[in-house]
Amino acid sequence: MSDLSEKDIDVFIEAVGDYFKKTTQEAASVGVAYLARNAFPMNDFTGMIKVSADYDGILYFSAPSAMLRHLLTVMKETNQSDENLLDAVGEIANTISGNARKYFGENMVISIPEKVAGLPSSFNQQARYYAYVIIIKWKHYSASLIVDISRKR
């Protein structure tokens, strides 16, 4: 078996899309998809999932604070503290991890999602030669889904 396929990557994207559709009735869509090396388009708040077993690497969902604030507003959440914004990004990461667990099964061991404000510390160690960057659009905001996961050969 070779590398991650488009179907594998789509599982993560669908999770984000489904999350937005369920909570806001408005689906998120894919803007562009490209490759990145040493220059991930990180935003204010980031949810991270580390994977192991047959796979190795990290998945990031990074969203700007304005997007998360708008999301909380739509969800009728008035408390828009940084903590709550972090929780929102963490919940999205949780949804992604749930979907991935269902799809990859025991071949992919997924850690408990971590959430950070600002740049994550693990940022410098890349699992892939080139990571996949998918810009996800919701309303006029753009979030980044960065799939830096490789399959062990």
Partner: protein, 717 residues
């Protein structure tokens, strides 16, 4: 076939047929017996009647005799009485003798009837006793009958005998009658009994027939029902799609339930199959399939012979729904078997299988196989390659791929559509493909070709789903991986050479490019099964910038491919035109007195023929006949530079993707200069690129197509 069927039917219903035959035979026998008994009873009736008449005759004899005696006492004689006596006596005598030994007598209606002799003992006894009395009586009566006058003595003797025996004779005749009646009654009783028994037996036989017939019918119905149930069970369980196709191409009444899932279409009985197929496969495959199916319905074609022609043996199908799961590539396999009766094709049994998994696995295996080949083949090729050229190739490829990635990253910032995006990617990948082919790096060339094919598919779609959007970075990543592997190896070789204090023989740019182009021409002409000689004169390339030389090499690569695939004819076609069997391609560099460099590629093929381009434009479906007719020949030739346009009807690894000329145009734009095309049908085509770096890029179309020598300079942007 028909005989076997008849035998089977006979075996199946033999019991029933035998029973019916027996029933008929039995009834016929009973009918015969009835006829026989009825005729016996007729005879018995005659006997009874005549026996009764004997009683009457015995009394009339006595009465007439006594009348004659009374008349005689009065001295009278009436011959009428004598005549009557004679008649009565003769009738009684004949009848009594007939009772004794059978014979003809006069019946009641004065007609002769046959009287059977009596057979049972009581009747025989009565007849014998009556004869004993009658014989002397008759003798005594004879003189009375024969006398014409009254003879008192014989009359008295007869009268006395009559007085003594008349009653006894009457009693005997009475006994005979009674006995005969009794016999007849007994016979009639027997007949009734026989008829009753026959009727009962007949009813039993009939009942048996009906019972057996019903049992057989029920058994047959049961078998049919069971067969139907089994068929339904099979159709409900079987994984494959199974159905019958009739000559009107309608789906039969029974089909497997997996059909809906496999074809992703709601199937019902008697719906036309072709529209369902049309929605699944490409237009080309559909038209091939239509022909193939009509061929199968032809009674004269042998099924085995055309088996290999089946265009649906393994076919990629397109989803009609838009959700992501369904839009993953699927492969189906359709098999057709003819159902023949009386040498006529009644139906086609169609078996459809989803072979996506097998195909994917095979592709996966092929990929793995390719990868393992890469290592050995690559190492050899890399060791052989000129290190400078290799470094240049890696640099160019990395630059190209990074540019492609930038295009992807900025896709939504441009106003361009998907078609445009695919075209931009196509140009880069095509250039990598060409260069890797020239370097002899077949694995990279094959991968780039795969990438191109994928882009061709995407180019046809107006909307890309998420997985299609993702497929581009996925393929790009794989190509980056391959290039990075080569980099690792190349660096290792370089280090090894440096540590061994040896350096590779430095070859000039021109000889390296010559080497690459020669290798490419050999490979493409072999693929296309054409005989081509390549003449190169590229020494001047050492005097231009390396980057420009590499770009010119790229132009050379595309034009060599075009010449071999589109320009140079097959050996047979060339022979027909009186040309030498091998085609010739000449690539040369020349310096003008003004110091400008001309890079030209010339082939002696069929030339650029506007009519062919017009036909290809119409066939591409992008242009209508009217639109094509409105264009001048020069405008038509310019279409060759349009992305995605090709005069080839099918694309292969070497040509037909419609991107080569587009790439040349972008290289010309990049380097800066002027591209001139000269061509004459069936004689030659020459592309001349005048490099003038500070001039705006342009394409000059000069054509000898119409024996004109008009030079037209047109700006292409």
């Amino acid at each position: 076939m028909a005989i076997v069927n008849n035998t089977n039917t006979f075996n199946k219903y033999s019991g029933l047929l035998i029973a019916v035959t027996l029933f008929l035979l039995f009834n016929l026998s009973v009918l015969g017996l009835n006829f026989y008994t009825s005729s016996t009873l007729d005879n018995d009736a005659i006997s009874i009647n005549l026996a009764g008449r004997q009683r009457m005759l015995s009394q009339r004899t006595a009465k007439v005799l006594l009348t004659i005696q009374v008349d005689a006492a009065q001295g009278k004689f009436n011959d009428k009485n004598t005549a009557e006596l004679k008649k009565v006596v003769l009738l009684f005598d004949a009848t009594l003798n007939a009772f004794k030994s059978g014979g003809q007598v006069l019946g009641g209606d004065e007609k002769a009837v046959t009287l059977n002799k009596v057979s049972d003992s009581a009747a025989t006894k009565a007849v014998d006793a009556a004869l004993t009395i009658w014989q002397p009586y008759k003798q005594l009566l004879t003189p009375v009958i024969n006398s014409q006058v009254v003879e008192e003595s014989s009359l008295d003797a007869a009268t006395d005998y009559a007085r003594d025996h008349n009653l006894k004779l009457l009693t005997l005749m009475n006994d005979l009658t009674t006995q005969l009646e009794k016999n007849t009654k007994a016979k009639a009783g027997n007949l009734k009994l026989i008829q009753t028994i026959a009727l009962v037996l007949s009813l039993l036989l009939f009942g048996n027939i009906v019972f057996n017939a019903l049992r057989k019918l029920r058994a047959a119905d049961g078998e049919i029902e069971k067969a139907q149930r089994e068929t339904t069970e099979i159709l409900n369980t079987v994984k494959e799609g199974l159905f019958l196709l009739d000559p009107e191409l309608l789906i039969g009444t029974q089909f497997s339930s997996s059909m809906n899932k496999i074809l992703q279409h709601d199937i019902s009985a008697k719906v036309p199959f072709m529209p369902i197929l049309e929605a699944l496969v490409s237009a080309e495959v559909f038209s091939q399939a239509t022909n193939y199916i009509s061929l199968l319905f032809g009674n004269k074609v042998k099924e085995n012979l055309i088996l290999s022609l089946n265009p649906l043996m393994q076919v990629r199908v397109y989803s009609t729904t838009s959700n992501n799961i369904a839009s993953a590539p699927r492969y189906l396999s359709f098999q057709f078997n003819r159902v023949i009766e009386d040498k006529r094709v009644l139906h086609l049994l169609v078996t459809v299988q989803d072979v996506t998994e097998q195909v994917t696995q095979a592709e996966e295996l092929l990929k793995l196989k390719g990868q393992s080949n890469i290592n050995l083949d690559f190492l050899r090729k890399l060791l052989e390659a000129d290190s400078f050229q290799l470094q240049q190739f890696l640099k160019n490829t990395n630059t190209g791929l990074s540019a492609l990635n930038t295009i992807l990253a900025n896709a939504d910032k441009r106003a361009s559509n998907h078609d445009d995006l695919a075209n931009q990617c196509f140009r880069i990948v095509h250039s990598i493909k060409g260069e890797s082919a020239a370097m002899g790096l077949e694995a990279i060339e094959a991968y780039a070709h795969q990438f191109e094919e994928h882009l061709s598919l995407l180019r046809k779609k107006t909307n890309w789903d998420t997985q299609e959007v993702l497929s581009l970075p996925v393929m790009l990543s794989a190509l980056f991986d391959q290039i990075s592997q080569i980099e690792v190896i190349v660096n290792a070789i370089q280090l090894h050479l440096e540590s061994a204090n040896t350096t590779q023989k430095q070859t000039s740019v021109s000889s390296s490019i010559s080497h690459n182009l020669t290798r490419l021409a050999a490979q493409v002409s072999q693929n296309q099964n054409k005989n081509v000689r390549l003449n190169l004169s590229l020494a001047l390339l050492d005097q231009v910038e390396t980057k420009t030389a590499i770009q010119l090499q790229q132009i050379g690569i595309q034009l060599i491919r075009n010449s071999i695939c589109h320009g140079i004819e097959t050996a047979a076609a060339r022979a027909a035109k009186g040309k030498p069997p091998h085609g010739e391609i000449t690539i040369s560099t020349q310096m003008t007195p003004q110091g400008a460099i001309h890079f030209s590629v010339r082939d002696d093929g069929q030339g650029i023929v506007p009519a062919r381009i017009r036909a290809a434009m119409v066939a591409s479906g992008r242009y209508s006949i009217e639109m094509v007719d409105q264009l001048t020949d020069k405008e038509v030739v310019k279409k060759l530079f349009e992305p995605g346009f090709s005069t080839a009807s099918t694309a292969d690894k070497d040509a037909g993707s419609g991107v080569g000329m587009d790439l040349i145009q972008s290289l010309v734009n990049e380097i800066g200069g002027e591209l001139k095309i000269d061509t004459k049908p069936d004689v030659f085509t020459q592309f001349t690129f005048r490099i003038a770096q500070h001039k705006a890029p342009a394409i000059n179309l000069e054509s000898n197509l119409f024996d004109s020598t008009v030079n037209v300079l047109e700006r292409v942007t």
